[in-house]
């Protein structure tokens, strides 16, 4: 009972410095966890987000750009794929499914993607999971000016079945670039937690023949999303398109290409992690400084305790445990900071990319980091604890008579 009482009272007596110190530890812990978890979760989410496709075929260019454009609906298309090329890949015996997409227009900043109804009826986003149109809606007719909205886009744009809209030319919203064509929403998709949620889907023909578009490219597509009958197909088609051919690019496998992206920005992760470590170090140092500075004020109390029979070890233990307690309070608050930061970052990533980071995701760092911070603080507590340990009793407690 003695130790907890001593610690509790001391923390309360120095409530302001305790709060500031614990706050800085919470910030450090939250930042560290957030950097770590966002890094691992986004890496996992982006590399696993294939929306059910093995590869993307597109114009000659960067594989990463192709994947970002066709799967993540980010970036511009590197160019077009001619109708003949699309037909060739569609009929290839090793290709199970070939879904064409066309891009180039938007609806108030949300991308319009032209495709075929088979994307919604035939393709599995993940094993056993297809696109689902919400009750009251249906997939668009491939020959009509109709649209199906992804859940996030529908929510943000306020689209519902029966609504009509005019698309805007280009991938970035420009109010002056409105097309004359009018599309009617026939359905809203259930959330898929993929980038597809941020898209307003329209028929391929609708986009290809939109007023103002180049009639010469009316049969071209921006990319072809592919499912193979076997993994060997990817290697053979890679040879065919990437090594032997020079007109088209096959981005395969999708996950590996995204992993390359993370490899390229690994330095950024390293910088963020370093900053977080430094914050943690500064926070631990602030524990030392805070307790050490309070030692002068507490010298008398410690001497009184010693005069009452407290051993040096008890005094040392009390100060040491107090440092650990501040670390523990900070670490616990750090978990809350982490959750808040992570939720914010996840919401931002979802809004910008449609990729969903799992909020309750578990990783050993979630207990290793707080525990390490507590240990670091306890370690820092040794310095003031030693000062407390050496408090001269007789000189401190009483006036001389």
């Amino acid at each position: 009972m003695t130790l907890p009482l001593l610690i509790r009272r001391s923390l309360r007596q120095h409530a302001l410095s305790t709060a500031i110190t614990a706050g800085s530890i919470a910030l450090a812990c939250g930042l560290l966890l957030c950097v770590w978890m966002v890094k691992t979760q986004s890496q996992a989410a982006f590399t696993q987000t294939t929306t059910g496709f093995d590869a993307v075929l597109g114009a000659r260019g960067s594989k990463l750009q192709l994947v970002l454009n066709a799967i993540f609906h980010l970036e511009a298309s590197p160019g077009n794929v001619a109708a003949a090329d699309f037909e060739a890949i569609r009929r290839h015996p090793m290709v199970k499914t070939a879904i064409p997409i066309a891009v180039g227009d938007n609806l108030r900043g949300f991308r319009l993607v032209g495709t075929v109804p088979e994307l919604f009826t035939n393709v599995e986003l993940a094993p056993g999971k297809k696109f689902v149109v919400r009750a009251g809606g249906k997939v668009f007719n491939g020959d009509a000016k109709e649209a199906v909205a992804g859940s996030f886009a529908a929510q943000r744009l306020g689209l519902k079945v029966g609504d009509t809209f005019k698309p805007f030319h280009g991938l970035a919203f420009d109010a002056k670039a409105e097309h004359a064509d009018i599309f009617t929403v026939t359905g809203v998709l259930e959330p898929t937690n993929t980038p597809a949620d941020r898209v307003v889907w329209i028929p391929l023909k609708g986009l290809q023949t939109m007023g103002g578009h180049d009639p010469k490219a009316a049969t071209d597509v921006s990319a072809v999303l592919l499912q193979f009958r076997s993994p060997m197909a990817g290697l053979q088609l890679d040879m065919l398109y990437n090594k032997q051919g020079n007109r088209l690019t096959l981005a395969f496998p999708v996950g590996a290409i995204m992993a390359e992206l993370f490899g390229k920005i690994a330095w950024f992760d390293a910088v963020l992690t370093l900053v977080a470590y430094l914050v943690a170090l500064v926070a631990a140092a602030s524990v030392v400084a805070s307790i050490y500075n309070s030692m002068s004020a507490r010298r008398r109390d410690l001497a009184i305790l010693r005069a009452l029979g407290a051993r040096r070890g008890t005094i040392f233990g009390a100060v040491f445990a107090e440092a650990a307690c501040i670390g523990a309070i900070g670490a616990a608050a750090g978990l809350a900071v982490y959750l808040a930061l992570y939720a914010g970052v996840a919401a931002l990533i979802r809004a910008e990319t449609g990729v969903v980071l799992e909020i309750g995701a578990w990783h050993p760092v979630l207990w290793i980091c707080p525990l390490a911070l507590v240990a670091l603080c306890a370690l820092g507590g040794i310095v003031p604890a030693l000062k407390a340990y050496r408090t001269p009793v007789a000189e401190t407690i009483a006036p001389v008579s």
């Binding site: 007596q13 109390d301 009793v393 407690i397």
Partner: protein, 241 residues
């Protein structure tokens, strides 16, 4: 039974509660010379005895009490409390003996300002054999008339009440020996008389020996047994401490 009676008799009559022999303590003065503060050849206090030591400020009384309490290590000599030789013990051993056998009342009370009245007493007990016995601490505080101030902090009490807390804390562990260093030095006459009466009364109730040091003649006059510290301390009196 006979043996037990003999032991009790011996404890009361033959073995003093406090025995000091050839005790010396010196400090290094700022000018580098060594100044002897305490040189006590022999001093004893029987169990339950109450004795007042008269001494002026700077005469080494506090140092003498610190040596008895084991707060300071002696240069030489022996201090024996209830048969246990304080001066032969390690620092941890002295801490333990102090917590078990001694109660200390300071002139400035030395209450822990961040702790409540009850916590001050409980903490005082927690290092001793009884441990942190809140019920007993409460009872002792009731005894000194502070049952209604348990959750107050020292700063919320009058000086007289703070002294009562100090008395309660010193006696809560049922010590065999109570050392009181100018315990009424910070009180006015009325409160000083009351505090002193309380200390003596509670020590009597608990059969604790009391060694009080003071320079206040009015305080000293209340003791049947008084001695001059100068008589027992052979160290130079103009010493800096």
């Amino acid at each position: 039974m006979a043996l037990e009676l003999f032991q009790k008799f011996a404890a009361i009559t033959l073995l003093p509660m406090l025995a000091v022999a050839d005790l010396t303590k010196s400090f290094v003065a700022p000018d580098g010379t060594r100044a002897e503060i305490v040189r006590v050849a022999s001093f004893a206090l029987a169990a339950g005895e109450q004795l007042a030591l008269r001494g002026e400020s700077g005469s080494g009384k506090t140092t003498f009490l610190h040596l008895i309490a084991g707060i300071l290590a002696a240069d030489a000599g022996r201090v024996t409390i209830d048969g246990a030789e304080m001066t032969a013990l390690s620092e941890a051993g002295r801490d333990r003996l102090r917590a078990e056998k001694l109660g200390y009342i300071f002139q400035t009370f030395n209450l822990l300002q961040g702790f409540t009245v009850l916590e001050n007493v409980v903490l005082g007990m927690s290092f001793g054999p009884r441990g942190a016995d809140r019920a007993h601490a409460r009872a002792v505080l009731e005894r000194v008339g502070l049952g209604h101030r348990l959750d107050h902090f020292p700063r919320q009490l009058s000086t007289g009440q703070q002294q009562r807390v100090a008395v309660a804390r010193a006696l809560a562990n049922r010590p065999k020996l109570v050392l009181a260093d100018e315990p009424t030095g910070n009180l006015d006459r009325k409160h000083a008389r009351e505090a002193l009466a309380l200390i003596r009364e509670v020590c009597r109730e608990q059969s604790a020996a009391l060694l009080l040091v003071s320079h206040d003649e009015e305080v000293l006059a209340q003791f049947e047994t008084r001695r001059d510290f100068a008589e027992i301390n052979a160290a130079r009196q103009e010493a800096p401490r």
